[in-house]
Amino acid sequence: MAELISLREAVQRFVNDGDTVALEGFTHLIPTAASHEIIRQGKKDLTLVRMTPDLVYDLMIGAGCAKKLIFSWGGNPGVGSLHRLRDAVEKGWPQPLEIEEHSHADLANAYVAGASGLPFAVLRAYLGSDLPKVNPLIKFIDCPFTGERLAAVPSVRPDVTVIHAQKADRKGNVLIQGILGVQKEAALAARRSIVTVEEIVDDLQAPMNACVLPTWAVTAVCEVPRGAHPSYAHGYYERDNRFYQDWDPIARDRESFNAWIDEYIRGTSDFNEFQQKLAAAQEAK
Protein backbone atom coordinates (compact mmCIF):
# COMPACT_ATOMS: atom_id res chain seq x y z
CA MET A 1 0.00 0.00 0.00
CA ALA A 2 1.31 3.42 -0.92
CA GLU A 3 1.85 5.90 1.90
CA LEU A 4 0.12 9.24 1.42
CA ILE A 5 2.77 11.66 2.66
CA SER A 6 4.30 15.01 1.83
CA LEU A 7 6.75 15.28 -1.05
CA ARG A 8 9.36 16.47 1.43
CA GLU A 9 9.02 13.30 3.48
CA ALA A 10 8.94 11.10 0.37
CA VAL A 11 12.19 12.56 -0.96
CA GLN A 12 13.79 12.37 2.49
CA ARG A 13 12.94 8.72 2.93
CA PHE A 14 13.08 7.29 -0.56
CA VAL A 15 15.75 9.21 -2.49
CA ASN A 16 19.25 8.50 -1.26
CA ASP A 17 22.58 9.98 -2.25
CA GLY A 18 24.12 7.79 -4.93
CA ASP A 19 20.79 6.35 -6.10
CA THR A 20 19.84 5.72 -9.68
CA VAL A 21 16.80 7.94 -10.11
CA ALA A 22 14.33 8.24 -12.97
CA LEU A 23 12.01 11.24 -13.17
CA GLU A 24 9.80 10.39 -16.13
CA GLY A 25 7.07 12.21 -18.01
CA PHE A 26 7.17 12.62 -21.77
CA THR A 27 6.57 16.37 -22.24
CA HIS A 28 3.32 15.81 -20.33
CA LEU A 29 3.23 15.28 -16.53
CA ILE A 30 6.90 16.00 -15.90
CA PRO A 31 7.53 15.77 -12.13
CA THR A 32 9.02 19.23 -11.70
CA ALA A 33 8.09 19.64 -8.04
CA ALA A 34 10.05 16.51 -7.20
CA SER A 35 13.16 17.81 -8.97
CA HIS A 36 12.94 20.99 -6.88
CA GLU A 37 12.60 19.04 -3.66
CA ILE A 38 15.59 16.84 -4.54
CA ILE A 39 17.62 20.03 -5.06
CA ARG A 40 16.31 21.58 -1.84
CA GLN A 41 17.42 18.54 0.11
CA GLY A 42 20.82 18.61 -1.56
CA LYS A 43 20.79 15.01 -2.80
CA LYS A 44 24.16 14.08 -4.33
CA ASP A 45 25.88 11.70 -6.73
CA LEU A 46 22.67 10.66 -8.40
CA THR A 47 22.63 8.69 -11.61
CA LEU A 48 19.79 10.33 -13.49
CA VAL A 49 17.80 8.35 -16.06
CA ARG A 50 15.35 10.02 -18.37
CA MET A 51 14.58 9.81 -22.08
CA THR A 52 14.35 13.60 -22.44
CA PRO A 53 16.36 15.30 -19.66
CA ASP A 54 14.45 18.55 -20.16
CA LEU A 55 14.37 21.38 -17.64
CA VAL A 56 14.00 19.06 -14.66
CA TYR A 57 17.42 17.54 -15.22
CA ASP A 58 18.99 20.79 -16.40
CA LEU A 59 18.03 22.06 -12.94
CA MET A 60 19.35 19.06 -11.05
CA ILE A 61 22.59 18.88 -13.07
CA GLY A 62 23.24 22.59 -12.61
CA ALA A 63 22.50 22.30 -8.89
CA GLY A 64 25.14 19.61 -8.51
CA CYS A 65 22.91 16.60 -7.76
CA ALA A 66 24.12 14.38 -10.60
CA LYS A 67 27.22 12.38 -11.37
CA LYS A 68 25.85 10.54 -14.40
CA LEU A 69 23.08 10.96 -16.95
CA ILE A 70 21.42 8.19 -18.93
CA PHE A 71 19.31 9.70 -21.71
CA SER A 72 18.23 9.65 -25.33
CA TRP A 73 17.41 13.26 -26.30
CA GLY A 74 18.67 16.28 -24.41
CA GLY A 75 17.13 19.57 -25.44
CA ASN A 76 14.73 22.29 -24.33
CA PRO A 77 11.81 21.28 -26.58
CA GLY A 78 10.89 23.99 -29.01
CA VAL A 79 13.56 26.31 -27.62
CA GLY A 80 17.09 24.97 -27.96
CA SER A 81 19.84 23.57 -25.80
CA LEU A 82 19.89 22.55 -22.17
CA HIS A 83 22.70 24.88 -21.13
CA ARG A 84 23.41 23.32 -17.74
CA LEU A 85 23.62 19.86 -19.30
CA ARG A 86 25.98 21.14 -21.97
CA ASP A 87 28.11 23.03 -19.46
CA ALA A 88 28.48 19.90 -17.35
CA VAL A 89 29.35 17.71 -20.34
CA GLU A 90 31.58 20.21 -22.11
CA LYS A 91 33.20 22.02 -19.16
CA GLY A 92 32.61 19.83 -16.13
CA TRP A 93 30.64 22.50 -14.23
CA PRO A 94 29.61 22.31 -11.42
CA GLN A 95 31.12 18.84 -11.59
CA PRO A 96 31.92 16.37 -14.34
CA LEU A 97 28.91 14.53 -15.72
CA GLU A 98 29.32 11.07 -17.14
CA ILE A 99 26.86 10.44 -19.93
CA GLU A 100 25.42 7.19 -21.20
CA GLU A 101 23.54 7.74 -24.39
CA HIS A 102 20.79 5.70 -26.01
CA SER A 103 18.00 6.15 -28.52
CA HIS A 104 14.36 6.63 -27.53
CA ALA A 105 13.41 3.17 -28.80
CA ASP A 106 16.22 1.67 -26.73
CA LEU A 107 15.30 3.40 -23.47
CA ALA A 108 11.57 2.84 -23.98
CA ASN A 109 12.26 -0.86 -24.48
CA ALA A 110 14.68 -0.86 -21.55
CA TYR A 111 11.95 0.47 -19.26
CA VAL A 112 9.53 -2.14 -20.60
CA ALA A 113 12.13 -4.83 -19.87
CA GLY A 114 12.69 -3.41 -16.41
CA ALA A 115 8.96 -3.44 -15.68
CA SER A 116 8.90 -7.00 -17.02
CA GLY A 117 11.57 -8.16 -14.60
CA LEU A 118 13.95 -8.99 -17.43
CA PRO A 119 17.65 -8.11 -17.37
CA PHE A 120 17.70 -6.95 -20.99
CA ALA A 121 15.57 -5.88 -23.93
CA VAL A 122 15.78 -6.99 -27.55
CA LEU A 123 14.99 -4.55 -30.32
CA ARG A 124 15.73 -3.89 -33.97
CA ALA A 125 17.99 -0.92 -33.58
CA TYR A 126 21.31 0.81 -34.09
CA LEU A 127 22.46 -1.02 -37.22
CA GLY A 128 24.64 1.50 -39.04
CA SER A 129 24.62 3.99 -36.16
CA ASP A 130 27.75 5.14 -34.33
CA LEU A 131 26.01 5.03 -30.94
CA PRO A 132 27.14 1.45 -30.15
CA LYS A 133 30.72 2.65 -30.66
CA VAL A 134 30.41 5.12 -27.79
CA ASN A 135 28.07 3.09 -25.57
CA PRO A 136 29.49 -0.36 -24.78
CA LEU A 137 26.19 -1.34 -23.13
CA ILE A 138 24.61 -1.61 -26.57
CA LYS A 139 25.27 -5.16 -27.69
CA PHE A 140 23.99 -7.34 -30.49
CA ILE A 141 22.58 -10.85 -30.41
CA ASP A 142 21.40 -13.26 -33.07
CA CYS A 143 17.83 -14.55 -33.14
CA PRO A 144 18.00 -18.29 -32.33
CA PHE A 145 15.33 -18.98 -34.95
CA THR A 146 16.06 -16.68 -37.89
CA GLY A 147 19.65 -15.63 -37.26
CA GLU A 148 18.69 -11.96 -37.53
CA ARG A 149 21.05 -9.60 -35.74
CA LEU A 150 19.22 -7.52 -33.14
CA ALA A 151 20.26 -5.05 -30.49
CA ALA A 152 20.33 -6.13 -26.84
CA VAL A 153 20.35 -3.43 -24.21
CA PRO A 154 20.32 -3.63 -20.42
CA SER A 155 16.98 -2.98 -18.78
CA VAL A 156 16.54 0.15 -16.69
CA ARG A 157 16.01 -0.68 -13.01
CA PRO A 158 16.08 2.58 -11.03
CA ASP A 159 16.39 2.61 -7.27
CA VAL A 160 13.55 5.09 -7.33
CA THR A 161 11.26 6.44 -10.04
CA VAL A 162 9.30 9.64 -9.62
CA ILE A 163 6.31 10.44 -11.82
CA HIS A 164 3.46 12.93 -11.76
CA ALA A 165 -0.16 11.93 -12.36
CA GLN A 166 -3.59 13.49 -12.36
CA LYS A 167 -5.21 11.72 -9.44
CA ALA A 168 -4.88 9.25 -6.65
CA ASP A 169 -7.65 7.93 -4.45
CA ARG A 170 -7.37 7.79 -0.68
CA LYS A 171 -5.96 4.27 -0.84
CA GLY A 172 -3.19 5.45 -3.13
CA ASN A 173 -4.36 4.04 -6.44
CA VAL A 174 -3.09 6.32 -9.21
CA LEU A 175 -4.74 7.33 -12.49
CA ILE A 176 -2.73 8.63 -15.45
CA GLN A 177 -4.52 9.99 -18.53
CA GLY A 178 -3.47 11.52 -21.82
CA ILE A 179 0.09 11.20 -23.10
CA LEU A 180 1.33 8.26 -21.05
CA GLY A 181 4.98 8.21 -22.10
CA VAL A 182 6.98 5.58 -20.24
CA GLN A 183 5.77 6.50 -16.75
CA LYS A 184 3.98 3.30 -15.85
CA GLU A 185 6.92 1.20 -17.01
CA ALA A 186 9.41 3.47 -15.23
CA ALA A 187 7.46 3.15 -11.98
CA LEU A 188 7.15 -0.62 -12.26
CA ALA A 189 10.82 -1.01 -13.21
CA ALA A 190 11.96 0.71 -10.01
CA ARG A 191 12.56 -0.64 -6.52
CA ARG A 192 10.64 2.32 -5.08
CA SER A 193 8.25 4.78 -6.68
CA ILE A 194 7.00 8.21 -5.74
CA VAL A 195 3.94 9.62 -7.48
CA THR A 196 3.03 13.28 -7.13
CA VAL A 197 -0.58 13.99 -8.09
CA GLU A 198 -2.73 17.00 -8.84
CA GLU A 199 -5.32 15.90 -6.33
CA ILE A 200 -6.42 13.12 -4.06
CA VAL A 201 -10.04 12.14 -4.64
CA ASP A 202 -12.60 9.74 -3.22
CA ASP A 203 -13.10 7.89 -6.47
CA LEU A 204 -10.76 7.81 -9.49
CA GLN A 205 -13.68 7.41 -11.91
CA ALA A 206 -11.24 5.53 -14.11
CA PRO A 207 -12.43 3.93 -17.34
CA MET A 208 -12.09 0.13 -17.16
CA ASN A 209 -8.93 -0.05 -19.27
CA ALA A 210 -7.37 3.21 -18.09
CA CYS A 211 -3.75 3.46 -17.01
CA VAL A 212 -4.00 2.81 -13.28
CA LEU A 213 -1.13 2.02 -10.94
CA PRO A 214 -2.57 0.07 -8.01
CA THR A 215 -1.59 1.38 -4.59
CA TRP A 216 0.40 -1.71 -3.68
CA ALA A 217 2.70 -1.11 -6.66
CA VAL A 218 3.54 2.41 -5.48
CA THR A 219 5.69 3.45 -2.51
CA ALA A 220 4.46 6.99 -1.84
CA VAL A 221 1.77 9.31 -3.15
CA CYS A 222 2.13 13.06 -2.58
CA GLU A 223 -0.46 15.69 -3.39
CA VAL A 224 1.29 18.55 -5.22
CA PRO A 225 -1.13 20.71 -7.22
CA ARG A 226 0.45 22.04 -10.43
CA GLY A 227 3.45 19.84 -9.60
CA ALA A 228 4.27 19.36 -13.28
CA HIS A 229 4.56 23.06 -14.13
CA PRO A 230 5.90 24.24 -16.63
CA SER A 231 4.89 20.92 -18.15
CA TYR A 232 1.16 20.28 -18.19
CA ALA A 233 -1.42 17.98 -16.68
CA HIS A 234 -4.16 16.98 -19.06
CA GLY A 235 -7.49 18.11 -17.64
CA TYR A 236 -5.85 20.53 -15.16
CA TYR A 237 -3.60 23.10 -16.81
CA GLU A 238 -1.75 23.70 -20.05
CA ARG A 239 1.91 23.75 -20.86
CA ASP A 240 3.57 27.04 -19.88
CA ASN A 241 5.43 27.52 -23.13
CA ARG A 242 6.68 30.88 -22.02
CA PHE A 243 8.51 29.39 -19.05
CA TYR A 244 10.44 27.09 -21.40
CA GLN A 245 11.51 30.17 -23.36
CA ASP A 246 12.28 32.16 -20.23
CA TRP A 247 14.44 29.31 -18.98
CA ASP A 248 16.90 29.73 -21.84
CA PRO A 249 18.54 32.99 -20.66
CA ILE A 250 18.40 31.93 -17.00
CA ALA A 251 20.22 28.65 -17.66
CA ARG A 252 22.61 30.06 -20.24
CA ASP A 253 24.78 31.68 -17.61
CA ARG A 254 26.19 30.12 -14.42
CA GLU A 255 25.56 33.20 -12.29
CA SER A 256 22.01 33.76 -13.40
CA PHE A 257 21.33 30.08 -12.92
CA ASN A 258 22.76 30.07 -9.41
CA ALA A 259 20.85 33.18 -8.52
CA TRP A 260 17.62 31.68 -9.80
CA ILE A 261 18.11 28.41 -7.93
CA ASP A 262 19.02 30.23 -4.72
CA GLU A 263 16.03 32.50 -5.00
CA TYR A 264 13.35 30.18 -6.26
CA ILE A 265 14.26 26.72 -5.06
CA ARG A 266 16.66 26.95 -2.14
CA GLY A 267 14.84 30.12 -1.13
CA THR A 268 11.44 28.49 -0.89
CA SER A 269 10.25 25.79 1.45
CA ASP A 270 8.13 23.86 -0.99
CA PHE A 271 6.59 23.89 -4.45
CA ASN A 272 3.58 25.87 -3.29
CA GLU A 273 5.79 28.69 -2.02
CA PHE A 274 7.86 28.46 -5.21
CA GLN A 275 4.77 28.98 -7.31
CA GLN A 276 3.67 31.98 -5.31
CA LYS A 277 7.10 33.56 -5.59
CA LEU A 278 7.26 32.87 -9.31
CA ALA A 279 3.80 34.30 -9.89
CA ALA A 280 4.65 37.40 -7.90
CA ALA A 281 7.84 37.91 -9.90
CA GLN A 282 6.02 37.47 -13.21
CA GLU A 283 3.34 39.92 -12.16
CA ALA A 284 5.98 42.47 -11.17
CA LYS A 285 7.49 42.36 -14.67
Binding site: P77, A105, S129, I179, G181, Y232, R239, R242
Partner: protein
Protein backbone atom coordinates in the same frame (compact mmCIF):
# COMPACT_ATOMS: atom_id res chain seq x y z
CA UNK B 1 -0.08 34.61 -60.53
CA UNK B 2 1.14 33.91 -57.07
CA UNK B 3 2.24 36.39 -54.51
CA UNK B 4 5.75 36.15 -53.09
CA UNK B 5 6.76 33.40 -50.72
CA UNK B 6 9.85 32.67 -48.67
CA UNK B 7 12.37 29.91 -49.27
CA UNK B 8 11.27 28.39 -45.98
CA UNK B 9 7.71 28.31 -47.22
CA UNK B 10 8.86 26.66 -50.44
CA UNK B 11 10.72 24.05 -48.40
CA UNK B 12 7.73 23.26 -46.23
CA UNK B 13 5.35 23.08 -49.18
CA UNK B 14 7.71 20.90 -51.22
CA UNK B 15 8.13 18.53 -48.29
CA UNK B 16 4.40 18.37 -47.61
CA UNK B 17 3.75 17.29 -51.20
CA UNK B 18 5.78 14.14 -50.67
CA UNK B 19 3.23 12.71 -48.24
CA UNK B 20 0.57 10.68 -49.99
CA UNK B 21 -2.98 10.79 -48.73
CA UNK B 22 -3.64 7.94 -46.32
CA UNK B 23 0.02 7.28 -45.69
CA UNK B 24 1.09 6.60 -42.13
CA UNK B 25 3.72 9.09 -41.10
CA UNK B 26 5.98 9.05 -38.02
CA UNK B 27 6.58 12.74 -37.43
CA UNK B 28 9.51 14.47 -35.81
CA UNK B 29 8.89 17.79 -34.10
CA UNK B 30 9.68 21.08 -35.86
CA UNK B 31 9.95 21.21 -39.65
CA UNK B 32 8.70 17.63 -40.25
CA UNK B 33 5.66 18.28 -38.10
CA UNK B 34 4.96 21.52 -39.93
CA UNK B 35 5.21 19.90 -43.36
CA UNK B 36 3.19 16.86 -42.34
CA UNK B 37 0.38 18.97 -40.93
CA UNK B 38 0.40 21.13 -44.02
CA UNK B 39 -0.06 17.97 -46.08
CA UNK B 40 -2.97 16.98 -43.86
CA UNK B 41 -4.56 20.41 -44.30
CA UNK B 42 -4.15 20.39 -48.08
CA UNK B 43 -3.89 17.38 -50.39
CA UNK B 44 -3.68 14.59 -47.83
CA UNK B 45 -6.58 14.90 -45.37
CA UNK B 46 -6.32 11.24 -44.42
CA UNK B 47 -2.60 11.17 -43.70
CA UNK B 48 -2.09 9.46 -40.34
CA UNK B 49 0.29 11.34 -38.07
CA UNK B 50 2.05 9.43 -35.30
CA UNK B 51 4.16 11.22 -32.69
CA UNK B 52 6.62 9.28 -30.56
CA UNK B 53 5.00 10.48 -27.33
CA UNK B 54 1.99 8.28 -28.08
CA UNK B 55 -0.73 9.94 -30.20
CA UNK B 56 -1.84 7.95 -33.24
CA UNK B 57 -3.80 9.87 -35.85
CA UNK B 58 -3.19 13.33 -34.37
CA UNK B 59 -5.00 16.20 -36.11
CA UNK B 60 -3.75 19.34 -34.35
CA UNK B 61 -5.19 22.70 -35.36
CA UNK B 62 -1.96 24.44 -34.38
CA UNK B 63 1.63 23.24 -34.56
CA UNK B 64 2.82 21.49 -31.43
CA UNK B 65 5.76 23.07 -29.61
CA UNK B 66 6.70 19.78 -28.01
CA UNK B 67 6.42 16.20 -29.14
CA UNK B 68 3.75 15.66 -26.50
CA UNK B 69 1.51 18.73 -26.68
CA UNK B 70 -1.96 18.23 -25.30
CA UNK B 71 -3.72 18.91 -28.58
CA UNK B 72 -1.95 15.96 -30.20
CA UNK B 73 -3.58 13.69 -27.64
CA UNK B 74 -6.97 15.39 -27.77
CA UNK B 75 -7.26 15.06 -31.53
CA UNK B 76 -5.77 11.58 -31.88
CA UNK B 77 -7.67 8.38 -32.65
CA UNK B 78 -5.93 6.86 -29.65
CA UNK B 79 -3.00 7.59 -27.36
CA UNK B 80 -0.74 4.67 -26.46
CA UNK B 81 2.38 4.39 -24.29
CA UNK B 82 5.64 5.54 -25.85
CA UNK B 83 7.05 2.03 -25.62
CA UNK B 84 4.16 0.77 -27.72
CA UNK B 85 4.77 3.44 -30.37
CA UNK B 86 8.28 2.17 -30.90
CA UNK B 87 7.45 -1.51 -30.51
CA UNK B 88 4.09 -2.18 -32.17
CA UNK B 89 3.88 0.70 -34.62
CA UNK B 90 7.41 1.54 -35.75
CA UNK B 91 9.30 -1.72 -35.26
CA UNK B 92 6.11 -3.58 -36.19
CA UNK B 93 6.56 -2.29 -39.71
CA UNK B 94 3.44 -0.12 -39.88
CA UNK B 95 5.05 3.24 -40.71
CA UNK B 96 5.01 4.26 -44.38
CA UNK B 97 7.05 7.42 -44.00
CA UNK B 98 9.45 8.50 -41.30
CA UNK B 99 9.75 12.27 -41.49
CA UNK B 100 12.98 13.52 -39.94
CA UNK B 101 14.85 16.72 -39.35
CA UNK B 102 18.60 16.72 -38.83
CA UNK B 103 21.50 18.84 -37.68
CA UNK B 104 23.71 17.50 -40.45
CA UNK B 105 23.39 15.07 -43.35
CA UNK B 106 25.91 13.58 -45.73
CA UNK B 107 25.61 12.62 -49.37
CA UNK B 108 24.14 9.20 -48.49
CA UNK B 109 21.44 10.62 -46.29
CA UNK B 110 23.11 9.62 -43.05
CA UNK B 111 22.15 11.91 -40.19
CA UNK B 112 24.06 13.44 -37.30
CA UNK B 113 22.13 14.82 -34.35
CA UNK B 114 24.64 13.86 -31.66
CA UNK B 115 27.84 15.85 -31.68
CA UNK B 116 30.11 18.08 -33.74
CA UNK B 117 33.76 17.39 -33.12
CA UNK B 118 35.00 14.51 -31.03
CA UNK B 119 32.34 12.60 -29.10
CA UNK B 120 34.29 12.78 -25.86
CA UNK B 121 35.59 16.35 -26.40
CA UNK B 122 32.69 17.86 -28.27
CA UNK B 123 32.89 21.14 -30.13
CA UNK B 124 29.08 21.29 -30.09
CA UNK B 125 26.94 18.93 -28.14
CA UNK B 126 23.66 18.33 -30.02
CA UNK B 127 20.49 16.91 -28.41
CA UNK B 128 21.16 13.30 -29.38
CA UNK B 129 19.34 10.47 -31.06
CA UNK B 130 15.74 10.68 -29.89
CA UNK B 131 13.64 8.41 -32.03
CA UNK B 132 15.61 8.95 -35.23
CA UNK B 133 17.89 5.88 -35.45
CA UNK B 134 14.99 3.45 -35.36
CA UNK B 135 12.72 5.62 -37.53
CA UNK B 136 15.54 5.72 -40.07
CA UNK B 137 15.90 1.96 -39.79
CA UNK B 138 12.32 0.72 -39.73
CA UNK B 139 10.06 3.19 -41.56
CA UNK B 140 9.33 1.94 -45.08
CA UNK B 141 10.62 5.25 -46.45
CA UNK B 142 12.33 8.24 -44.89
CA UNK B 143 12.05 11.91 -45.82
CA UNK B 144 14.52 14.44 -44.46
CA UNK B 145 13.81 18.14 -44.26
CA UNK B 146 16.36 20.79 -43.31
CA UNK B 147 17.77 24.09 -44.39
CA UNK B 148 20.73 23.76 -46.67
CA UNK B 149 24.16 25.17 -45.89
CA UNK B 150 27.80 24.24 -45.89
CA UNK B 151 27.52 23.50 -42.20
CA UNK B 152 24.50 21.20 -42.46
CA UNK B 153 25.30 19.34 -45.71
CA UNK B 154 28.72 17.98 -44.92
CA UNK B 155 31.16 15.72 -46.67
CA UNK B 156 31.90 13.62 -43.64
CA UNK B 157 29.77 13.40 -40.52
CA UNK B 158 31.56 13.51 -37.19
CA UNK B 159 28.98 11.05 -35.95
CA UNK B 160 26.36 8.93 -37.69
CA UNK B 161 23.38 9.00 -35.36
CA UNK B 162 20.84 7.59 -37.81
CA UNK B 163 21.83 5.66 -40.87
CA UNK B 164 20.65 6.52 -44.35
CA UNK B 165 22.31 4.63 -47.18
CA UNK B 166 25.47 4.11 -45.08
CA UNK B 167 28.44 4.11 -47.49
CA UNK B 168 26.07 4.04 -50.46
CA UNK B 169 25.33 1.36 -53.03
CA UNK B 170 23.79 -1.66 -51.34
CA UNK B 171 25.51 -0.93 -48.01
CA UNK B 172 22.20 -0.27 -46.30
CA UNK B 173 20.72 -3.48 -47.58
CA UNK B 174 23.73 -5.41 -46.32
CA UNK B 175 23.17 -3.99 -42.86
CA UNK B 176 19.84 -5.83 -42.87
CA UNK B 177 17.63 -2.82 -42.21
CA UNK B 178 13.97 -3.43 -43.06
CA UNK B 179 13.11 0.02 -44.44
CA UNK B 180 14.19 1.46 -47.80
CA UNK B 181 15.92 4.41 -46.14
CA UNK B 182 15.79 8.05 -47.19
CA UNK B 183 14.07 8.69 -50.52
CA UNK B 184 14.19 12.47 -50.44
CA UNK B 185 15.93 15.42 -48.81
CA UNK B 186 13.91 18.58 -49.05
CA UNK B 187 15.71 21.86 -48.40
CA UNK B 188 15.03 25.54 -48.83
CA UNK B 189 16.91 25.37 -52.14
CA UNK B 190 16.08 22.09 -53.78
CA UNK B 191 14.97 18.47 -53.61
CA UNK B 192 17.56 15.71 -53.62
CA UNK B 193 16.91 12.06 -54.29
CA UNK B 194 19.15 9.02 -54.18
CA UNK B 195 20.69 8.13 -57.53
CA UNK B 196 19.86 4.59 -58.64
CA UNK B 197 22.76 2.29 -57.89
CA UNK B 198 25.04 4.57 -55.91
CA UNK B 199 22.31 5.85 -53.59
CA UNK B 200 24.15 9.15 -53.48
CA UNK B 201 21.79 12.07 -53.13
CA UNK B 202 21.69 14.23 -56.26
CA UNK B 203 19.60 17.28 -56.99
CA UNK B 204 16.47 16.34 -58.89
CA UNK B 205 14.52 19.56 -58.54
CA UNK B 206 15.55 23.17 -57.99
CA UNK B 207 13.12 25.48 -56.28
CA UNK B 208 12.03 28.40 -58.47
CA UNK B 209 14.71 31.07 -58.79
CA UNK B 210 17.45 28.96 -57.20
CA UNK B 211 20.59 28.44 -59.23
CA UNK B 212 22.87 25.43 -59.36
CA UNK B 213 25.64 27.65 -58.03
CA UNK B 214 23.64 28.47 -54.93
CA UNK B 215 23.16 24.77 -54.26
CA UNK B 216 26.79 23.95 -54.90
CA UNK B 217 27.86 26.70 -52.54
CA UNK B 218 25.52 25.50 -49.83
CA UNK B 219 26.69 21.89 -49.97
CA UNK B 220 29.77 20.53 -48.24
CA UNK B 221 30.37 17.81 -50.77
CA UNK B 222 30.70 17.91 -54.54
CA UNK B 223 26.98 17.84 -55.13
CA UNK B 224 25.85 16.37 -58.43
CA UNK B 225 22.72 17.07 -60.44
CA UNK B 226 20.41 14.55 -62.05
CA UNK B 227 20.21 14.40 -65.84
CA UNK B 228 16.81 16.01 -65.82
CA UNK B 229 16.64 18.55 -63.06
CA UNK B 230 13.08 19.76 -62.64
CA UNK B 231 11.92 23.05 -61.32
CA UNK B 232 9.83 22.63 -58.20
CA UNK B 233 6.30 23.86 -58.72
CA UNK B 234 5.72 27.08 -56.86
CA UNK B 235 3.50 26.97 -53.80
CA UNK B 236 -0.11 27.26 -54.83
CA UNK B 237 -2.37 29.87 -53.37
CA UNK B 238 -4.13 27.13 -51.41
CA UNK B 239 -0.87 25.77 -50.02
CA UNK B 240 0.36 29.20 -48.98
CA UNK B 241 -2.93 30.14 -47.39
CA UNK B 242 -3.06 26.87 -45.48
CA UNK B 243 0.53 27.23 -44.29
CA UNK B 244 0.18 30.86 -43.26
CA UNK B 245 -3.11 30.20 -41.51
CA UNK B 246 -1.51 27.31 -39.65
CA UNK B 247 1.40 29.51 -38.58
CA UNK B 248 -0.93 32.34 -37.59
CA UNK B 249 -3.07 29.99 -35.50
CA UNK B 250 0.08 28.62 -33.91
CA UNK B 251 1.38 32.08 -33.10
CA UNK B 252 -1.94 33.08 -31.62
CA UNK B 253 -2.05 29.93 -29.48
CA UNK B 254 1.56 29.69 -28.39
CA UNK B 255 3.01 33.14 -28.89
CA UNK B 256 5.47 31.62 -31.33
CA UNK B 257 5.39 30.06 -34.78
CA UNK B 258 6.32 26.55 -33.81
CA UNK B 259 9.83 25.34 -33.47
CA UNK B 260 12.04 24.94 -36.48
CA UNK B 261 14.61 23.04 -34.43
Amino acid sequence: MMGSYSTNEMMTVAASRRLGNGSVCFVGIGLPSKAANLARLTHAPDVVLIYESGPIGAKPSVLPLSIGDGELAETADTVVPTGEIFRYWLQGGRIDVGFLGAAQVDKFGNINTTVIGDYHQPKVRLPGAGGAPEIAGSAKQVLIILKQSHRTFVDKLAFITSVGHAEGGDARKRLGLPGAGPVGIITDLCIMEPEAGSNEFVVTSLHPGITREQVIEATGWAIRFADNVQTTAEPTEAELVALRDLEARTAAAHGQKGSDE
